[in-house]
């Protein structure tokens, strides 16, 4: 069983529909076609140390996808703000990580919109990239 993390804390799975999973090796030019009809797009992280998913998340937004976008894999609480800034709505973590890293650890990073240098430099964020 995995656990969903959003700004307000832990949740059980609550999506039922057409989900598309993108592997870390997904080529940028393939993304638009893959996500076109999805109800949820999950970008897979095979390891927390593999940061490809953060760029892929942004590219899913750049491709025009406005739906629910999820980072799926063994991320750590310290990466929550990175995932949100890269365009993800939520993170899906394995139960083992949720047991070790408390809901409070994750909620401590719910302030992901604060102290953002790139926003201050005029980067409009992923929402502005929507076609």
């Amino acid at each position: 069983m995995s656990v969903l993390v959003r700004d307000d804390g832990f949740h059980a799975e609550d999506f039922d529909g057409l989900a598309v999973e993108l592997a870390p090796t997904t080529a940028p030019e393939e993304i638009a076609a893959l996500v076109a009809n999805a109800g949820l797009v999950a970008v897979r992280f095979d390891s927390f140390a593999d940061g490809r998913g953060f760029t892929l998340g942004r590219l899913v937004r750049t491709a025009g996808y406005t739906g629910r976008l999820r980072a799926r894999g063994p991320l750590i609480a310290d990466q929550y703000a990175m995932a949100r800034r890269a365009g993800f709505d939520e993170v899906e973590i394995p139960a083992e990580i949720a047991a070790r890293q408390s809901e409070a650890d994750w909620r401590a990073r719910a302030d992901w919109q604060a102290h953002d240098y790139r926003k201050r430099l005029g980067y409009k964020g992923c929402d502005s990239l929507l076609a």
Binding site: A49, D50, R52, D78, Q79, R85, D105, R118, R120, L129
Partner: protein
């Protein structure tokens, strides 16, 4: 100098609070050692051979006198009374306790210092010319751009878990004093039709596979710097290898895909990213640039420098090496050598740091720079004050006049500190410096750039030394390979990687081999005007190889 504003201060405090919590969560088990490792690295904390090491950032090598005093205090309160200035314009404290580090970071924050992204697989401290803003040959001051890159890259959401570390260097002068061709991205400020922009290089690096960077764009308008860097990093983040850490640097990505394919990937990303930047960064850049104006340089009796040189030979010898031209003729820049023969290259004691801070406060408009050659620069000194600066440096034991000569050696920490090293580098540097000063050949040999790395990762940049020494482990014994002809690149000659001469030498055979090599140079050169590197270019490697191995073949 750039002063941290309310945003920077709030950011740093928040970041330090996060790191304090991360240390606590490691101790409580919430974070595993594997999970904690990249978090401590992106906050400058390494696990070394004997202890934790804290690497503090000196952004683009610039320090105020107050900041230098705080570094001295850190060395005294939490380390063993000294710090080590590195080739990446940082300072390392080699003997700190992990649980003290949050307090050290809080203390550094009071003067705007930090250790963010000095390690780890993220964008590191941007380096630049130590004479930036003072040099007479500058197209534009690179520091405002380096500060802009610092802000953009700090805690960048996409690039904290790259395939490998990522280093950017900028030069504002045609005479590249920042070794940009040896960086993941090298930026050279250029002017085209009255517009300032960048020549962008990519894929340089030393390490076990030394490569010089290739040109990605001949001219990038300066306003497009951030989205273009973001495009390069995005392309690398996706394409860089993650199966083998030795093949994970961008130089390998560019090499394996080819520069044209990589350029296309960057341009594709750039088209996506460019619209997301509103241009507000250019307003911030203007505000940043306004903080890098020259200090209010005072009128002074500049001729006192020249008259003192005539009557004081000790001062004249020092000034000939240490003093360089400034934009304004009645001022000068002073290089202070941290390469005293017998001492560890780049090391400074707390007392020396404080002496430097005092000299900077009294004579140097409060400014100090750390160079990538591990020396310290006072960028602005009134010429009238140069004799007083020399006297103060003499009292602090910092008046060596060996800049650019043989004993101005760049050396990595080597096996005395580093867990990766396969051989000693600091003791070898000490022995070489002392030997050539003792036999009195250093001044006769003149300009020579000697660099030592204690393992194949090449932190001592040996590939770019006129003479490079690489220490390896051969069946349990230290063995040193010698390369010749490396060069960091300047306006007349592009950067070059030195050529390996042949079989390595045992530790105790290195100094005699160097002496044979350099005596051969003294015999072969076209007078004292021809430097070692120029002689190598004119004559080729053969006579120098023969001299290096003369002893060996005699015995055989």
């Amino acid at each position: 100098m750039y002063q941290h504003n309310a945003f920077d201060q709030a950011f740093l405090r928040n970041r330090n609070t996060q790191f304090r919590a991360q240390v606590e969560r490691r101790l409580s088990g919430s974070l595993t050692e594997d999970e904690f490792k990249p978090l401590r690295l992106m906050n400058g904390v390494y696990l070394q051979l004997h202890a934790y090491m804290l690497r503090a950032a000196i952004p683009y090598g610039t320090l105020s006198a107050d900041q230098m005093r705080v570094l001295a205090e850190v060395a005294e309160r939490w380390d063993r009374g000294y710090g080590h200035f590195t080739t990446r314009q940082n300072i390392q404290f080699n003997w700190v306790a992990l649980t003290d580090i949050p307090d050290i970071l809080d203390h550094m924050e009071t003067v705007g210092l930090h250790a963010i992204q000095t390690s780890g697989n993220c964008i590191r401290n941007t380096t630049t010319d130590a004479l930036a803003g003072a040099a007479a040959d500058e197209i534009a001051d690179p520091r405002p751009y380096a500060e802009l890159i610092r802000q953009w890259s700090t805690d960048h959401a996409e690039f904290q878990f790259l395939p490998r570390k990522f280093k950017i260097a900028i030069t504002g002068s045609p005479d590249d004093r920042a070794a940009i061709a040896a960086h993941d991205v090298g930026l050279q400020l250029v002017e085209q039709g009255g517009e300032i922009g960048f020549r962008v290089l990519v894929g340089g690096g030393l390490g076990r596979t030394p490569m010089l960077a290739q040109e990605l764009r001949p001219f990038l308008p300066s306003a497009e710097l951030l989205p273009y860097l973001e495009a390069i990093l995005s392309a690398y983040n996706l394409a860089g290898r993650r199966d083998n850490k030795y093949k994970a640097r961008i130089k390998i990505t560019v090499f394996e895909h080819g520069i044209d394919t990589f350029r296309q990937a960057v341009e594709d990303q750039f088209a996506r990213i460019r619209p997301a930047y509103t241009g507000e960064d250019q307003q911030l850049l203007a505000e940043i640039a306004a903080q890098f104006t020259l200090p209010d340089l005072r009128e002074n009796m500049a001729e006192y420098d020249a008259t003192t040189r005539k009557v004081d030979p000790l001062y004249a010898a020092w000034a000939a090496q240490a003093v360089s031209a400034h934009k304004r003729a009645d001022h000068a820049s002073v290089t202070v050598a941290l390469k005293v023969a017998g001492e560890e290259p780049g090391d400074a004691s707390a007392d020396q740091m404080r002496a430097l801070a005092d000299i900077a406060a009294r004579y140097g408009y409060n400014e100090l720079r750390i160079t990538h050659s591990q020396n310290v620069v006072l960028p602005h000194v009134a010429r009238e004050d140069l004799p007083a600066v020399h006297a103060a440096l003499l009292r602090a034991g910092l008046a060596a006049a060996n800049m650019g000569k043989l004993s101005d050696i760049i050396a990595c920490p080597g096996m005395d500190y580093c867990a990766l090293a396969t051989a000693r580098s600091i003791p070898l540097a000490q022995e070489i410096a002392q030997h050539f000063q003792t036999i009195g050949l250093e001044d006769e040999i003149g300009a020579l750039n000697l660099k030592i790395s204690g393992c194949i990762n090449a932190c001592g940049h040996h590939h770019l030394g006129h003479i490079g020494i690489l220490g390896l482990d051969r069946a349990g014994a230290e063995n040193y390979q010698i390369t010749i002809g490396g060069h960091e690149g300047d306006s007349t000659h592009p950067a070059a990687i030195g050529e390996k001469m042949g079989p390595g030498f045992a530790y105790e055979a290195v100094v005699p081999a160097l002496e044979r090599l350099l005596r051969a140079y003294l015999e072969l050169r076209n007078g004292a005007e021809e430097t070692f590197l120029e002689a190598v270019r004119r004559l080729g490697l053969a006579p120098f190889r023969a001299a290096l191995y003369a002893e060996v073949s005699d015995a055989a």
